[in-house]
Symmetry: C2
Subunit: 533 residues, 2 copies
């Protein structure tokens, strides 16, 4: 089951994995797994390493102009290093990218699209939200003065419509708010009544019991007289008021047994995800504004269209052979050191003379299978009709989230995300042609917004299957617990004159802040070695 955790439009749930794991290994093993896994955790890193001394003129070849490569070049240049960046794409940012009109998206296998959104419309094809605790990335947002705005990750007003569930709620469109409220209301009632009947008297004394009941009354909007949950206007209104003489009608609660049958209560949890809370951040105007700000500062160091063909080193230097994808010409760049931020899935196909142990590590990370669909709508019906601003609705079709934009509110048009697919679903959707992918998104969206979704789609769509995107070959890279233990430390160490960096080399796998922090880590090490030379 996808996206169980606080209606996150996300990934296979790690929590379910961990719960299964706990049932065999106990909770301490879960904690160990959490530590080792790429769970979203807080980072203490807030600033680049304070390096003493300079290494003026030391040549560093940086492979890849994504966030890790840009950070590396920016920090080293500040210390007098002579950096050069080779980037296979025609732009900087890597998976920190935003599609606008004219954006070209090629896929391995030959499918090509050119974005034809209206002016002012955009879509973040990969990285799209920044948690509040990703201080390392914010370091640059602040330093570069990038205007930021809210990204509404979850929104209680969005819809659930599950078809393959038991009972009368099957196929019925509900607001998440209704399900959350009614589940918590009903279960508060159950516990409050049991407490009052004395079921907890062995554990709770008079005061505790009173306080518990008082909490449950507040939590669940129970009638304090009989401790019954009778619904509340907080779950929404059945009939909106119409003018000052028609006051509207509160809605009625869903029955607990119907809710339990449906399993819909299991789509949320006690709090929003720490990793992906209700609100996150995004740069105003598209995620690539961050990359653009780096590019302003280190763009002159970048050679674009440079596809790395071979990575070699000797005692003196590193040689990188690359091919200009526009002209077909090949050339060699050299450096005293090299920092490669090339995704491991790409790196494993590049001939090199790294150690076998290192090659094994490169082969051990798992590139994520992930896909997105963007659909331009000619009216923001979800805002105008449904009062939904940001967040995501979903059906129980795998990867069925419809994600609403958190920008351009009340504007004339908008780009919604039509699906967010992972794993096997991404595999099968990725195998489709673009038109089929679009149709899949439209069919699903129509279930959530009947009569509106297809009608307002204005024929402009963009789909991406990250496993098929050249120079990335995956959405991000992560590790199994075992692989992280075994291989991760190998890549943290320099391989001769070659250093690795990228979000995969952090505890924030798949996040831009992970890319920044891995770059900081390696910059510090490289400088220590270069200064020692």
């Amino acid at each position: 089951m996808e996206s169980r955790n606080n209606h996150e439009p996300l990934i296979l749930t790690k929590r379910e994995f961990l719960q299964g794991f706990a049932s065999v290994s106990g909770i301490s093993a879960v904690m160990a797994a959490l530590e080792a896994w790429d769970m979203g955790i807080a980072s203490a890193a807030t600033a680049p390493p304070a390096l003493s001394g300079r290494a003026d003129g030391t040549r560093v070849l940086v492979l890849g102009a994504g966030i890790a490569g840009l950070t590396t070049a920016y920090e080293l240049t500040e210390r007098g290093y002579d950096c050069r960046i080779l980037e296979a794409r025609p732009f900087a940012g890597g998976r920190c990218q935003t599609a606008r009109a004219g954006f070209r998206l090629d896929e391995v296998g030959g499918q090509s699209q050119v974005c034809d959104f209206d002016e002012g419309q955009w879509f973040n094809t990969a990285a799209w939200r920044i948690p509040a605790h990703h201080k390392s990335l914010f370091h640059y947002c602040r330093r570069f003065g990038i205007p930021m705005q809210t990204l509404i990750s979850s929104n209680e007003s969005t819809y659930l419509r599950y078809e393959n569930i038991e009972g009368p709620l099957a196929g019925r469109r509900l607001r998440r708010r209704e399900v959350m409220m009614d589940m918590r209301g009903h279960t508060s009632e159950l516990l409050a009544k049991l407490a009052q009947q004395g079921a907890l008297d062995a554990e709770f004394t008079g005061d505790d019991k009173e306080q518990l009941i008082e909490y449950l009354v507040a939590e669940g909007y129970l009638d304090p007289n009989d401790l019954v949950y009778k619904g509340t206007t907080e779950r929404g209104w059945a009939v909106d008021f119409a003018g000052p003489l028609e006051p509207g009608q509160p809605s009625e609660a869903l029955a607990l047994k119907e809710l339990l049958q449906s399993g819909l209560g299991n789509t949320f949890s006690a709090v929003s995800s720490f990793e992906r809370p209700y609100t996150m951040l995004q740069p105003v105007g598209g995620m690539d504004r961050t990359a653009a700000a780096f590019e302003e500062r280190v763009g002159h160091l970048i050679t674009y269209h440079a596809e790395v063909q071979e990575l070699r080193q000797d005692e003196q230097e590193v040689q990188v052979h690359y091919r200009d994808s526009l002209t077909g010409d090949t050339a060699t760049a050299t450096g005293d050191y090299c920092v490669t931020t090339i995704p491991l899935a790409v790196m494993r196909n590049i001939p090199n003379d790294l150690s076998d142990r290192c090659k094994a590590a490169i082969g051990a990370a798992t590139p994520s299978r992930v896909g997105k669909l963007a659909l331009q709508m000619n009216r923001r019906f979800w805002e105008e009709d449904d009062a939904i601003f940001g967040g995501s609705s979903q059906t129980d079709t795998p990867g069925s989230s419809v994600i609403y934009p958190s920008h351009g509110f009340l504007g004339p048009k908008g780009v919604v995300q039509g699906y967010y697919v992972f794993g096997d679903t991404a595999e099968s959707v990725g195998a489709m042609e673009h038109g089929q992918r679009t149709e899949r998104g439209l069919a699903n969206g129509e279930k959530l917004h009947p009569g509106q979704f297809r009608r307002h789609y204005d024929g402009r769509a963009l789909s991406v299957d990250w496993k098929r995107v050249p120079h990335s070959l995956g959405g991000w890279e992560s590790w199994s617990d075992e692989a992280r233990r075994e291989h991760f430390p190998v890549l943290l160490e320099p391989q001769g004159r070659v250093y690795f960096a990228g979000a995969y080399l952090s505890y924030l796998t798949g996040w831009q802040a992970g890319a920044v922090e891995s770059a900081w880590y390696q910059v510090e090490r490289l400088h220590a070695n270069a200064a020692a030379v």
Copy 2:
């Protein structure tokens, strides 16, 4: 107790009133009260009334250039009416106002302030957030193309620090997320165990029981083996990771008994408030951008500095005597009709020849006592250090919310709201001099951000006590249940050639959308009468 409902920095809680009410009168009476009260409810109004015919040249005097007056003039002008607006202030918008450098704030009683914030810093002194379901106001935001952004009303990452509570949590600063998670985790455990022990067997059969337990495990992050809540990383981390080799440490749950003792669980409820959900909207650049957009269109109809002295009418027309507050000159404006949007608290002091019944109605609404303090900070420490972006923290001092801005994220400075006081608290704080008010806010903020709040305050503050603001004399106006039944209908009817409009004449008392909808209601009636002439 203030702001109990989903850590809303708001008002005496209606819910507590209603719960008390329910204990005497039962839930159906509560529902009736909800209907009659100014609860935040959804409005079906999405567009101005479709009026047939025109009334070219019919003269309408509009009193007040707040949202109700601006809406009235805009809509009537569209139908050929000859409108004129008298506004006592030097600007349009009324309580849709934003303080920036140079903004002057006088108070009845003689206290005056001139805002001295840095350029680019602003503070909404009154209206500051728009719920997603306020479609009538959005009608104009859309029509006028006003850029909108998110207003984060509630944020689980913000702090609670209560001193006057029982037990070891007294005086301890906690994230709301921790309290919410632990309360729901522990209570899920209690109910899951009771269910497993058979306490609900009379009500729930095998499948229901299994599903209930499954839900509670998901909701509360229980260990599925023993149904115990052992904490979860979703509540936050005790030690953040530091680089790729130091994975950090999950935090430990607070004990249920300590939480119950503290009563902190009662600061939130099952879902965010329907009226004030986690995320709301605001115009980019300040709430007054809406007023400014109206002003662009009907500003030429406004006479500023025009303080209404007297309102008279005869068979033919309405005469309004007013005084220019700059020159002291008096003058008379006339119209075939008059729409007064003057707050009732002000209106009751203006000589007029309205009926006694109407005067009684004017006297029956209650102006809210409400105050705010804005403090400019020279560093956004709550973002940089605490990873808090928007929402509010609070102590248990009444009116103690510190509200963080939802704009200008990661910028060099920011304006935080230092308190939000209501009722008796607003009364006593309003009686203070500005410097004392500022000190009150600083002392409270320092509890929430020790070592930071005072240190980063850069000496620029603005405080407002709405009961003392001329031309408003209150934050908004609302009705007791009884007063609404008795007096509200009187004001909905035209009094001769005089019509009333304002948020107080709607079910959205205190909201801009209420002002819009009451204007729409009266525009339709006025037009029906004017066309019939």
